[in-house]
């Protein structure tokens, strides 16, 4: 403590001395202090395990299935990770995906419009849900856990109730023969094959959005603000960061991503089961936390969430390939989450020591 304010004059070789000390912080140590390092190690372990025990897992086609399973969770995990770094939760994210898909499907069908009109309306609805979540949060100052829990329950009810009211069943009508379906499917749910390796549109979008989100987070002012409001809202406000706008923006980002994933589901399956989506919100949070996001905010990366979702995809499909009972999936996901959190916490305390 007493040496903290040593004036520069007393250390004329400050520059070289400094360079020396920087050098002492080894590459390995810097690598280990990355938030996503725990998840990376976890991904390698899970991959190795299934590679060893499950013979079908080794094929290229399996990898494409794993990537697809990861991407549908991973797309949402990107937005949820950003929101968590900004210090908030969104428990309504899982059912909001279905809300968006139902809106697009039913709007196009009931008004017999081009499906792209329904897609546009769904985008508006999804952004509005995010906006309402955010505005409720900043107006009432009630924790986002409670606000989005309420939104989750309301949307869950609305999804089924409105679908039943309009269609008379729990699923929306098949829209596969409507105008614009082919082009929308090409954007949201197409797939292509390269030398036997099947790649889905969502996988590409997943990586594209992850790259954009990472860039925003680390290289733009908004990214700096997201970390700041998650780390200390009061400090951020005091230096002039528009805290409320950033928070609302983050909820709307989750809304946007829910729309995107919802559109994928609609154009992949042509029809939407209105009761789906429940429980997925926790998988998104799981992926973000496995990837190194702190529940308290201000820390984490999008890359980590991507790896977290990939681990989930590997486990989900790996258990199938290994021929085990599918009911074990959630047990393993839970155990992995626990391990990841313990390892992440331990690594963080170790590497932050000077």
């Amino acid at each position: 403590m007493s040496q903290t304010l040593t004036p520069r004059a007393t250390s004329p070789e400050g520059g070289s001395e400094k360079a020396l000390r920087v050098g002492q912080r080894s590459l390995l140590r810097r690598f280990l202090s990355r938030p996503e390092v725990g998840s990376l190690i976890g991904a390698v372990v899970v991959f190795s395990v299934f590679f060893t025990v499950a013979e079908p897992f080794r094929q290229a086609s399996s990898l494409s299935t794993v990537l697809y399973a990861s991407s549908t969770i991973g797309l949402m995990a990107i937005a949820v990770a950003l929101l968590m770094i900004g210090g908030e939760f969104d428990l309504s994210a899982g059912v909001a995906v279905i809300t968006s898909a139902i809106t697009a499907g039913m709007f196009s069908y009931q008004f017999t419009t081009n499906v792209w009109v329904g897609v546009g309306v769904a985008l508006l609805v999804s952004l509005t849900i995010g906006f309402v979540n955010g505005m409720l949060l900043i107006r009432t100052r009630i924790p986002s856990f409670l606000i989005t829990l309420s939104m989750f329950l309301m949307l869950q009810g609305l999804n089924v109730a409105v679908t039943k009211l309009v269609t008379g069943s729990v699923a929306t009508q098949n829209i596969s023969n409507m105008d614009g379906f082919a082009s929308a499917k090409a954007v949201f749910a197409s797939e292509a094959s390269f030398a036997g390796f099947n790649i889905r549109a969502t996988v590409i979008w997943w990586l594209v959005f992850a790259a954009i989100a990472t860039w925003v987070l680390l290289r733009t002012r908004v990214g700096n603000w997201i970390y700041a409001i998650g780390g200390s809202k009061e400090s951020a406000r005091a230096v002039g960061v528009p805290v409320n706008k950033v928070k609302v923006g983050l909820f709307m980002t989750v809304g946007f991503m829910a729309w995107f994933v919802g559109m994928h589901m609609l154009f992949q399956f042509n029809t939407v089961q209105s009761g789906e989506g429940v429980g997925n919100e926790l998988l998104y949070i799981m992926a973000a936390v496995v990837g190194g996001c702190l529940l308290t905010g201000g820390y984490g990366t999008v890359i980590g969430a991507v790896i977290g979702a990939f681990i989930y995809g590997m486990t989900r499909q790996g258990i199938v390939y290994a021929g085990w009972d599918n009911n074990w999936v959630m047990f393993f996901v839970g155990a992995m989450l626990l391990t990841a959190v313990i390892v992440n916490t331990w690594v963080r305390t170790q590497t932050s020591k000077r």
Binding site: M1, T4, P7, R8, A9, G14, R21, N224, S232, V239
Partner: protein, 306 residues
């Protein structure tokens, strides 16, 4: 230690928009109520360039409320707040900051988990590029942050360290360096020496002097009259939300200031009382045997022996 002087000259320079020779910041009869609790009332204050105004007061006197009004976090419920002679209504700290009024808070307004350089530029990040490729100018921000901290005598091994790894003094100086770098005309320091050791306090005080010499108006909030008297040009003592005392340096001595700070009239009464010997009776300390202290041991002493 001499390095602290002169550091402020090399900064980009406070935006010089001197509206004559009047005070930059002026409060006239300012008050603030929260519901029916009156936190502050009737405060007059002037801050001019090249002047250190010290605000002293005990805990809960209303110092923090006063700062928050000046910094733009609270709007006063009565009275008038003028900047450069014109009445203003700040609805956010950003607006105050844009007028050159920068605050270094007690909690320093830093984000513990973020790297030093990101904290330095938080809210005022430098960007480069255009359109969708507009991005943070990381290289320049790191270089400037490093340079500014070195000027203040902090040489960090790594400005990528999270701020939580810095010492209390380093955090304080980081916050001051940041405010000065971003062109503050008025620098509000909220108890900058409260959590620091003697040596570190000295550096902060020197920096206050340097800031004044560079033409900044400084508002120095403290409850240490010794620190205040070393750098202050003008002194205001606040008590229970009201101004108890207001005088330029020429009109008082350290003794006066200490006296007012410690409670003034109330202290006189207490002193008087103590002199008359009306002291509540206290048991003698363990091991000190006065004539009257006879054997019957206190219960806890007996216990310990057993």
């Amino acid at each position: 230690m001499a390095t602290t002087t002169g550091t402020t000259q090399a900064k980009p320079g406070p935006p010089v928009e001197e509206g004559g020779s009047g005070p930059i910041v002026e409060l006239r009869g300012v008050g603030k109520s929260f519901g029916n609790i009156r936190a502050l009332s009737g405060v007059d204050l002037k801050v001019s360039t090249g002047e250190v105004t010290c605000i002293l007061g005990d805990n809960g006197a209303g110092k923090s409320t006063l700062i928050k009004i000046i910094a733009g976090l609270h709007e006063p419920t009565s009275g008038e707040y003028r900047v450069d002679g014109r009445p203003v209504k700040f609805s956010s700290p950003r607006e105050a900051l844009n007028r050159g009024i920068a605050t270094v808070y007690q909690d320093l307004a830093i984000v513990q988990l973020m790297p030093v350089w990101r904290n330095f530029f938080l809210g005022s990040e430098l960007s480069t590029g255009a359109g969708p490729f507009r991005r943070l100018d990381v290289k320049r921000m790191r270089a400037i942050c490093d340079e500014e901290l070195q000027k203040m005598g902090i040489d960090l091994p790594n400005i990528d360290l999270p701020v939580q790894n810095l010492s209390g003094g380093q955090k304080q100086v980081l916050a001051i360096a940041r405010a000065i770098y971003f062109g503050a005309r008025v620098l509000i320091l909220d108890e900058p020496t409260a959590a620091l050791g003697v040596k570190q306090s000295g550096v902060v005080l020197k920096y206050i002097n340097a800031a004044r010499d560079a033409g900044l108006g400084v508002i120095f909030i403290t409850h240490n009259p010794h620190h205040a008297f070393m750098v202050g040009d003008h002194f205001v003592v606040i008590k229970l939300g009201e101004m108890e005392f207001d005088a330029p340096r020429s009109e008082l001595s350290l003794q006066d200031l200490t006296h007012h700070m410690a409670g003034g009239a109330e202290l006189d009464a207490l002193e008087h009382e103590l002199e008359r010997g009306q002291v509540p009776e206290v048991d003698p300390l363990h091991g000190v045997k006065s004539k009257e202290s006879v054997e019957p041991e206190l219960p806890h002493q007996a216990e310990r022996k057993g």
